[in-house]
Symmetry: C2
């Protein structure tokens, strides 16, 4: 019999996309669904970067250099300089989205059976790339009470084995919105140096920091060979569909190895590189507007959430996500119920159950992730739905305000 | 010490790109280099498909569906119908180039340690994707004397073990240009059914068949679950830089498994999908012109090659590649020498040493691959260079006309 591979069997389906059929069914019933479930911003892609593609004089759309067009990489050097990162163009490898940067990094640095530590909750697709590469994600739990700050270094020490080869962080974080401080970054540096670990740093959301300074892993000194930065223009310029990212590292061996994987797939997307290059020319204050908009949305979302009885949502310092604890016991059931069995004025809200962002089984069952990618008015409407839903949801905890205790029973 | 992965160490560098520094050096010396080394056509990308991107009304360049836009997949159903392939839109998974289709297929169907049989010479990047997936490519040799026809089925039987899980073919072939006949395809079908093997069919060049009928693996009946087709718009519409391909299979389990890998990387390139969808609207006779152009080039190239003493080049039935045997003993050295130490009227030619396309060590050392991606005039100039070069090359075989015998000593 024909069989599929074990890694294919073990490959996790997207925890975010599994509810899509229920959302589609709700829409067919005429219900308006507020999508707070996915990090697809509604912010306009800067027309100037789309115009760059429209105005490009292309006779033959050729393969680019496997590392991406040199002209684009040289412009990125300027961009990175503007965020305090000192890097050369031959230390930047252009990838198909941040996704491919993660994949190349995993393939280059880790052997099957190796372990990487990731503070949970974390970006669920790390699981998929880890599965493809045959490596094991070892979660250590960050706590909602601390706003999902870096877990104590002792927690890292406890799980480090001779198989441990790296730590993955994402700051500002998806799904928590937490922004690591310099102190936390220095703690990560110390443990990476002590145990000879790679520090994989996913910096997709660096432009969106509200209550603190953005600290890049590339800002840390004395650990150049340890840092592999994964980047993307998806969120920065609201251009998720372009599929353009970068793997950035000063470790020459990692870079040269990644280049071999890059050569095998020939080149990153060509039209998107034109967009990316044009983006470096956007005015210096370009980010002010989207950042202010996201902050307004965050403030609206978080204050509405915390005003609902039994709900707790720490204030995220960056990105455009928040994780909230709800007075429920099964967020998967609740999110499906919102789409299948609930409506408020012919409207409902789609959320992402947080369980999909935890590596430890059983965690996140009373939490949901909310992406504040809709305007303030829509957020208020969505929160109206959530508030009403929690009044009537049959799976609610008995004593809503003591939800935190009950979740540990 | 920080280490890179074993698969990263083992990952083969591109055999085609290693000569690039020598070509750059030649250009710096003012020498014109005819690039017959790489499958980057000079045929214009159809302006209509670039216009489709220019005219697209995009406010936010969003993630597409992980399988690609449904509208594009539905149009592809029509395209495939036009080439005799009967397929549904939910059996098509849009990928980032044909490269990602190969990668997804390998990840889904094969476990580390599994073996896939590939007639050699073959597309060198299969090695890279096999290395990433931890699978072993088992070559069986096709012969230049037969024009690189399918090796006898006994040769397949000889290497089949309990680890063998699939066969990879490419027809019309890169790098040989050979076009498998229906009889050869039926032979492949028989062996796949007998031994329960997947048939991976790389059909990147189907539009360019000159001396025979194109036969798709999808044309074979009674083996729907065995066939995984890998496709791309790169060569079809001279749009290599778009990075748009497809994995096509009627095997639902393989498709659903590939979808999990597709979800992890979110979506294929967005702007390219607009191009791909518009391409289906090109007039029915669109391919006539590029096909006639390639055929003219092939005829010029092959007749010039065979007129050079000691050179033999079988006439390729399709694609835009030919493999020629030269009166030399080390094609890597010869190709480098052409760039480093030779010029004819301030011109030289860049070729791909065929050794990089063989899995068996030592084969292809008297062969080169030529991509006829330049116009007829340029091809004649390039052949002038090659002809002159072979007169003076110091590494030439002593008796040029008996090169074939000598290569086996």
């Amino acid at each position: 019999m024909l069989t599929i591979s074990l890694r294919g069997e073990n490959m996790p389906p997207s925890p975010i996309r599994k509810l899509v059929p229920f959302a589609e069914a709700a829409k067919r019933k005429g219900i308006k669904v507020y999508h707070l479930n996915i990090g697809q911003p509604d912010i306009e892609t800067p027309p100037a970067i789309l115009d760059a593609v429209r105005n490009a004089d292309i006779k033959v759309l050729e393969y680019s250099h496997s590392a991406g067009n040199e002209s684009y990489r040289r412009r990125l050097v300027e961009y990175y300089k503007s965020v305090g990162i000192d890097i050369r163009h031959d230390q930047i490898l252009i990838t198909t989205g941040g996704s491919e940067a993660i994949q190349f990094g995993f393939f280059c640095c880790f052997n099957p059976g190796d372990e990487v530590i990731v503070p949970e909750p974390f970006y669920a697709n790390y699981n998929g790339f880890a599965c493809a590469a045959g490596i094991n994600v070892v979660p250590i739990t960050s706590q909602i009470e601390t706003g999902f700050a870096l877990p104590p270094i002792e927690d890292f020490e406890k799980v480090i084995t001779n198989k441990t080869k790296g730590i993955i962080i994402c700051s500002p974080n998806n799904p928590t919105g937490y922004l690591y401080s310099m102190k936390e970054m220095e703690a990560l540096k110390a443990i990476c140096l002590k145990h000879n670990l790679y520090l994989f740093s996913d910096e997709a959301y660096r432009e969106f920091c509200y209550d603190g300074e953005y600290v890049s892993a590339m800002h840390l000194t004395g650990m150049d060979n340890h840092v592999v930065m994964m980047d993307t223009i998806s969120k920065r310029y609201s251009a998720c569909g372009a599929r353009l990212g970068a793997l950035v590292t000063k470790n020459k061996l990692v870079y040269d190895t990644a280049m071999k994987f890059a050569q095998a797939r020939l080149s990153p997307p060509g039209l998107a590189q034109i967009m990316g290059e044009a983006a470096v020319d956007l005015p210096a204050d370009y980010f002010e507007k989207p950042k202010a908009e996201y902050q307004k949305r965050r403030d609206a979302l978080v204050s509405r959430l915390n005003a609902i009885p039994g709900v707790f949502c720490p204030n995220p310092g960056g990105a455009f996500y928040a994780i909230a604890r709800l007075p429920i016991t099964d967020s998967d059931h609740f999110c499906q119920w919102l789409l299948e069995s609930f409506e408020h004025k012919h409207q409902t809200v789609m959320l992402a159950p947080a369980s999909g962002f935890y590596g430890t089984a059983g965690l996140g069952k009373d939490e949901v992730r909310l992406a504040y990618v809709l305007n303030v008015e829509a957020i208020h409407s969505a929160m109206d739905c959530l508030e009403e839903a929690l009044k009537v949801y049959p799976g609610k905890k008995q004593n809503a305000t003591s939800g935190q205790l009950q979740s540990h029973i």
